[in-house]
Amino acid sequence: MMSSRDSILSQIRQNKPEEVALPAVTTFASNFANTEDKFREMLAAIYTEVIVVKNLEELAQKAEALYQGIVNRATTIPALSAWADFSLNVSDPHELETVEIAIVQAEFGVAENGAVWISDQYLPHRVLPFITQNLAFVIPRNALVDNMHQAYVRLQDTLGWGCFIAGPSKTADIEQSLVIGAHGARSMVIFLLEDE
């Protein structure tokens, strides 16, 4: 008997339509007057604060002020190691269950939708940006692209895993009322780091 794989493939071969070529145009330019303004505008609409910091020192100060009094602070940024009180050096990701705030280095942002790209390259544990109660990303201020087409030009390799994250987690499953903080982070801040 033929395996399911082979019978599926052979039925596809029998039934598929005639050869066509891929469309010639599959990418588009967005031409925003100001990419960062657009990025901020989109993030404001999804309850995300954008904070520009001049350098890592200012980042540490802002982090201190913003998350004052919160315990279980984790970070992937060496310059914030004094700020953090929770080590990400755990072997089982379930141990991250109690993280209250994670400040994480990420790669770049997308102006048209406020999404930020994060991947294995920047994370010791994939679950960190989801399991933490609150999340902040740090990206270089000049690392913004206009739209998703440009984003994929930048993402030549997605490594093992990566994710576009746009704002805090949310749901509108109860009578279409928007609620922030479904299963993932309840709040999101994006630091744009100038000097890098």
Partner: protein, 458 residues
């Protein structure tokens, strides 16, 4: 026709008994449709994007075999195990086999319409496996022992009072509490415990990339990621039409998907899986279940381009006023009505008739499926093969006589308008299910054609 489920017309009659509720349902979905309009108008290239998406999907249909083979090969190189299932039963057995092998009897699942189509939860539960749906809307309908009524908004048919009562019973929230924030928080706590204790997670697949062997899962809640990144084993299930050729094509589809679905520029999370994390097992189940047959139906194969955004449901005047459950199929609404007869003509013969053929679905579809034309064509196929649902038989026979003779159509229209002005009860009667629970509009005194004939001389 013998059947246990109610036909669409019958089920909508039940749905329409509570008029304020139906109006609310109608308006809620129309509001979502308007958000889609506003969002799409922000992009000057919107129509070109739809054209590109449709073209890429056309290419996919013509190259499905090669693309799937390339995807399989790359996924294997990435350390992912690939399984093939010819039908729902085989899909369910594969999932059960994987769980058994790991001695797992509890699993979390994020949204997957495919597993609804395969009735996987029932099958697994009969085999001693507990499946917890983790999307809030899906968890709500699961606790009610109901299927989702919408592919994107599973609990759109429920009022917050229904959910408050349900959570009071199952999650111990305060009696009478209906605040969405409070109820969502209760579900968050309840499901967090599941995420932290389940060793297996099943997710759907929005797009699978032939070039890289990776796949993308989109959610707003973060539930797919919470499940997958904590579990020892991640099983991702996909209908084979989810394949796209290249990673860069995700740019086209992710720009269209959320805007079409809810008006958001993108979902909160667009998670790109390629390799399992260290120590984890990752499996992909590629499912046919009638898709290769649909591929061979020239008039209907375009339905396989669907990216499950739900826009055709939100805009459909019949869906909005009959509710998702009246379609008695995992995928409801206009697209469900094209997919369902392919799976079972006897059971689903009524669905292509659950449409006014107004074409609004085709106008909003991000991959430009000719939905209303396919609905019309299904009616002909079903009538020819003798599957027409009972409630439509009389009307259809009369209609085919009328439409076959244009002169008779003009005359009968004039007659119809006269009849309606004089005796509206003759049209608004029980033989015409479309007018149940509705008052007929005032008929125009002349048809457009009469008006045109009279005025074109002036």
């Amino acid at each position: 026709m013998s059947k246990t489920v109610m036909e669409h017309a019958e089920a909508s009659a039940v749905f329409n008994r509570d008029e304020p509720y139906v109006n609310w349902h109608d308006e809620t979905l129309w509001f979502v449709r308007q958000k889609r309009d506003k969002s799409s108008k922000q992009l000057p290239e919107w129509e070109e994007l739809r054209e590109a998406a449709s073209g890429i999907k056309h290419y996919v249909l013509a190259h499905l075999d090669e693309l799937l083979i390339s995807f399989e090969q790359k996924a294997k190189e990435n350390g992912v195990q690939v399984h093939w299932a010819a039908n729902a039963a085989e899909h369910n057995e594969i999932v059960l086999g994987l769980l058994k092998k790991h001695k797992i009897d509890k699993m979390v699942k994020s949204k997957s319409m495919l597993t609804e189509e395969c009735h996987m939860n029932e099958f697994l539960s009969k085999n001693g496996i507990e499946v917890i749906d983790t999307d809030l809307g899906e968890r709500i309908v699961q606790l009610r022992n109901e299927p989702p009524s919408h592919i994107v908004l599973p609990a759109i048919h429920l009022k917050k009072k229904d959910i408050g009562d349900l959570f009071h019973e199952h999650l111990g929230t305060d009696a009478g509490a209906t605040d969405p924030q409070y109820l969502t928080e209760a579900a968050r706590q309840h499901l967090r415990d599941k995420f932290l204790t389940r060793r297996a997670a099943l997710t759907g697949v929005n797009f699978a990339v032939a070039e890289t062997g990776g796949f993308v899962v989109s959610t707003n809640e973060g539930n797919a990621d919470m499940g997958a990144h904590l579990a020892d084993i991640h099983i991702a299930c996909m209908g084979f039409e989810k394949i796209i050729p290249k990673q860069e094509h995700l740019g086209v589809f992710l720009r269209l998907l959320a805007r079409s679905a809810t008006g958001q520029p993108i979902t909160t999370y667009s998670s790109h899986f390629k390799k399992p994390r260290e120590g984890q097992e990752m499996h992909i189940v590629i499912v046919d279940n009638g898709r290769s047959t649909q591929l061979g139906r020239k008039d209907f194969r375009n339905s396989l381009k669907c990216i499950r955004c739900g826009a055709c449901m939100n805009t459909c005047p019949v869906y909005r006023r009959s509710g998702g459950h009246s379609y008695h199929n995992a995928v409801a609404g206009p697209i469900g009505s094209i997919l369902a007869p392919n799976l079972d003509m006897t059971k689903n013969a009524d669905l292509p008739f659950a449409s006014t053929l107004c074409g609004s679905c085709s106008n909003v579809c991000p991959v430009k499926i000719d939905i209303h034309e396919q609905l019309y064509k299904w009616r002909q196929v079903l009538a020819k093969e003798g599957y027409v649902p009972k409630s439509k038989e009389i009307g259809i026979r009369a209609m085919s006589t009328v439409l076959a003779a244009p002169r008779f159509y003009q005359w009968s229209g004039r007659l119809g308008r006269t009849v309606m002005r004089a005796m509206p009860f003759m049209v608004n009667n029980a033989l015409n299910p479309w007018y149940k629970q509705r008052d007929m509009p005032e008929p125009p005194k002349e048809s457009f054609r009469d008006w045109y004939v009279r005025n074109r001389k002036n």
